[in-house]
Symmetry: C2
């Protein structure tokens, strides 16, 4: 397995991981156990990763972080709506 | 602000984000709203990022993902213990 394959698998896993969490909060409309601070810090960090990817023109970083940003932001919005 | 400063800030934010979530689950001993699938996929992905960092000998990737792996694994253990 090449380095790039491992990096790609890592990116797919860490990005897609947020999908079941989005489904859970949308379905249950409950976010009590989810930390607001975590998702504020995380969304800010992912946004900076996205900017970083754009600056260094790295397509995998841009795609992975754009997708993660959308998913993590949905969780953050639900955290504000359904405490 | 240089590219590297943005990348470093991004890494610090996405890693430290898991700390308030760890504190929350340890304190409340409740993980009902946290998705098991999310943390299984995420821990696996972060572990692959760590392997990737070791293979390409990138110290920031190794440090950031080692720290995130420890924090995310604590959340995963609590998810199994306190459903």
């Amino acid at each position: 397995m090449s380095y790039q394959t491992i990096g790609l698998a890592a990116a797919i896993l860490t990005t897609s991981a947020f999908l079941p969490q989005v489904i859970r909060v949308v379905k249950n409309r409950s976010t009590h156990d989810i930390s607001l601070a975590m998702f504020v810090l995380f969304c800010t960090g992912i946004f900076l990763w996205l900017i970083y990817g754009i600056l260094i023109k790295d397509i995998p970083i841009i795609i992975a972080n754009a997708a993660t940003f959308i998913l993590a932001t949905i969780i953050l919005i639900y955290k504000f709506k359904f405490k």
